[in-house]
């Protein structure tokens, strides 16, 4: 089923990926989305925009991010496979989120807008947005579910230090889904002066296409780096999938290499059978959420079902529409990873490589362990190490029964 060009350019232009994607938004946002579409297209055709973005990526973010061979982790925990880590954790602000944010922040300036808003789950996208806003002199408001402000308190403090206003959202499940609702409500009211820097490949067109474009630098670099290091393409690429931006960013460069299997790992929470999870493919169905048709965790009446995950960044009942299409066409494969499996992989990476990953990323590492055992020692596996775990130290300490991290030290 794996077609070479999964999506024709005509479909992308209309913001559709097969039956998925599109725009399901209040009419008040249509003009802004059309304006964004146009600004994005003009920027993509402007060498000046690329030069500015490239300069910031190099001198501010620290790109290209390195590729690290995880020798001990591969040997001891991945069936002896060769595992390469694409080190997005080493980017300024600590995750891949900054790639997308800088692109959209520069677009904001081009559109003449002075204020940016963002939703955030783990806080990484919020921190990246607050960072870019400080850099470019933009006003910044970040919406964050109250539950997430608690479990990612360190990032809340970082955003505030950077001058952003953090608005805890108390509606619904008090997580990422509700933060997005609130950001949309802000945007529909302030759209003339505000750009909504959506943090992942979800939402109405053109967000999925645009965010993928800004994240695709991950895959472009990684493809060359793997070829240089190993002399051939990897057998599998693994990434965690919240909304799906780090996964789309690394998958994009390999979509036309049918021999490279693409694997996305979603949050299995307490286990898909318990209903407490964020596995949209294993436990959801096609529907419409937050402006796009995609896989959604929903009940028989189309009401969104709250998701659950130890990882705030994967705790979301929807997923990017392009992933829905890659899933249906079979070009990419998706599987859930439970909290326990993720935390096991988290600890193993810490102990074998001296790298503390984000808990989101630990889901991809658990996936790589499965893949390695499956594929054996001749396999090469490329893992997107989407972020670092500083923000998760308190959660991890609790999980492993270590002495509690002083909350004051977390910056509350």
């Amino acid at each position: 089923m794996a077609s070479k060009n999964v999506v024709t350019s005509e479909e992308v232009a209309k913001g559709h990926f097969g039956p998925y994607g599109g725009r399901f938004v209040p009419e008040a946002l249509t003009a802004a989305l059309d304006g964004l579409d146009e600004a994005f297209a003009q920027a993509m055709a402007d060498p000046g925009f690329h030069a500015e973005l490239e300069r910031l990526q190099r001198t501010y973010v620290g790109r290209p991010s390195p590729l690290t061979e995880a020798v001990r982790f591969g040997q001891e925990h991945c069936g002896g496979a060769r595992v390469y880590l694409k080190r997005e954790d080493l980017n300024h602000t600590g995750s891949h989120k900054i790639n997308n944010v800088l692109g959209q922040a520069l677009l904001t300036v081009r559109m003449g807008k002075k204020r940016v808003i963002a939703e955030t789950g783990a806080g990484q996208h919020g921190v990246a947005t607050a960072t870019a806003a400080a850099l470019l002199g933009l006003e910044c408001v970040v919406y964050m579910g109250e539950e997430d402000t608690r479990r990612q308190a360190l990032n809340v403090a970082r955003m505030r230090l950077l001058g952003a206003t953090v608005v805890p959202v108390t509606a619904g499940s008090r997580t990422l889904k509700d933060a997005i609702n609130e950001a949309m409500r802000d945007w529909v009211t302030t759209v003339d002066e505000t750009h909504y820097i959506l943090g992942t490949v979800t939402g109405p067109s053109p967000f999925p296409t645009m965010v993928r474009a800004f994240q695709s630098i991950i895959g472009q670099e990684a493809r060359e780096q793997v070829l240089a290091a190993a002399g051939r393409l990897p057998d599998a690429v693994a990434a965690c999938v919240g909304g799906g931006s780090n996964a789309m960013g690394i998958f994009a460069a390999f979509l036309d290499d049918p021999a490279v299997r693409l694997w996305g790992f979603e949050a299995g929470g307490d286990g898909v059978e318990t209903g407490r999870h964020a596995a949209r493919f294993a436990g959801g169905a096609p529907g419409v959420l937050h402006g796009a048709r995609t896989y959604v965790m929903q009940d028989e009446w189309g009401q969104t079902v709250p998701s659950h995950s130890i990882s705030a960044g994967l705790d979301y009942p929807g997923v990017g529409p392009e992933h829905a299409w890659l899933h249906d066409t079979g070009r990419a494969e998706y599987a859930p990873v439970t909290d326990a499996e993720a935390m096991d992989a988290f600890e193993r990476l810490c102990r074998t490589e001296g790298i503390i990953p984000a808990i989101e990323t630990a889901h991809a590492l658990a996936g790589a362990m499965r893949l390695g055992r499956d594929l054996g020692p001749d396999a090469i596996i490329l893992v997107n190490l989407s972020g670092r775990g500083d923000k998760d130290v308190a959660t991890a300490a609790r999980w492993f029964g270590l002495p509690a991290v002083d909350e004051a030290a977390e910056g509350r």
Binding site: R23, A28, A31, G291, G302
Partner: protein, 273 residues
């Protein structure tokens, strides 16, 4: 002629605007929601908009969110909403459902139009569905004679106004302001300009909603629009009432005030085609 067209024609014959009242189905509970909507009709509401409570109402402010939440906690399903719309339609008032798109799609686009028509409902307002994504919905509603109402906003371009109005039947819903639902102390001046722009591209009735809460505002809007839509202000009264009796009498009181408002100023010009 559908019940909606009928309601607007009647109002026009009386040289006034139609009054459209919104309440979520199942709020504060199933039985009382029907009772409140009937009270609205008795007090002068021409068209009832029955809200389908949804988990992620991203076009709604805190008041409608709270009401939808309560209705969902009470277990209100889309099937209940259709049945409630049927109960309300028995009053003789034109009855439409307002729903975010996912519950309709999940119910089955064809089944939703069919069941609503069978129950006696006559239209559906879809705040997050655009004409571009509506092929199946247009076919199903045409088949079952259900009116399709989409929204236009002050930010809509002229081209967009034409596309959206062309896709509407029954009436065009003009959002008075850039924002979410909720009562406001004044209705934005953008509404009048928007209605004038819509009239240039359609001869369908144009109704104005978002932020309307008083008879005074209703009178102001009735001077230039064919319909005045009020939602959050009714819900606020129900939320603040100590019991259903009080809720019913204050909802009826507001409906009477608004009904007087839409009669106070006549429409000075018919639509321009």
């Amino acid at each position: 002629m559908t019940a909606l067209a009928d309601a607007f024609a009647r109002a026009r014959a009386e040289e006034r605007a139609a009054l459209i009242g919104y309440l979520p189905a199942g709020f504060p509970n199933r039985e009382d929601s029907v009772r409140l909507m009937r009270a609205m009709v008795e007090a002068g509401v021409d068209i009832v908009e029955v809200g389908l409570p949804y988990s992620d109402p991203l076009m709604d402010g805190p008041v409608i969110q709270a009401a939808a939440d309560q209705a969902l906690r009470g277990g209100t399903t889309p099937a209940d909403v259709i049945a409630i719309a049927g109960d309300v339609a028995k009053t003789g008032a034109a009855t439409v459902v307002m729903s975010y798109w996912n519950p309709v799609e999940r119910f089955g686009v064809e089944a939703f139009a069919r069941d609503l028509a069978a129950a006696g409902g006559c239209g559906v307002i879809t705040p997050d569905l655009t004409p571009e994504e509506s092929a199946a919905w247009a076919a199903a509603t045409r088949e079952h004679d259900i009116d399709r109402v989409y929204l236009v906003a002050p930010s809509s371009t002229d081209e967009r106004l034409r596309t959206v109005s062309d896709a509407c039947t029954g009436f065009v819903y003009a959002a008075s302001t850039m924002g979410v639902t909720g009562a406001r102390s004044s209705v934005s001046g953008a509404a009048e300009a928007l209605v004038a722009r819509v009239r240039r591209v359609t001869d369908l009735p144009v109704a104005v909603g978002l932020g309307v809460s008083t008879g005074e505002q209703a009178a102001e809007i009735a001077a230039y629009a064919d319909g005045v839509i009020v939602g959050s202000a009714f819900i606020r009264l129900v939320l603040d009432a100590p019991g259903i009796e009080e809720a019913e009498s204050s909802v009826a009181g507001l409906a009477r005030e608004l009904a007087a408002g839409v009669r106070r100023r006549r429409i000075d010009a018919g639509p321009v085609t």
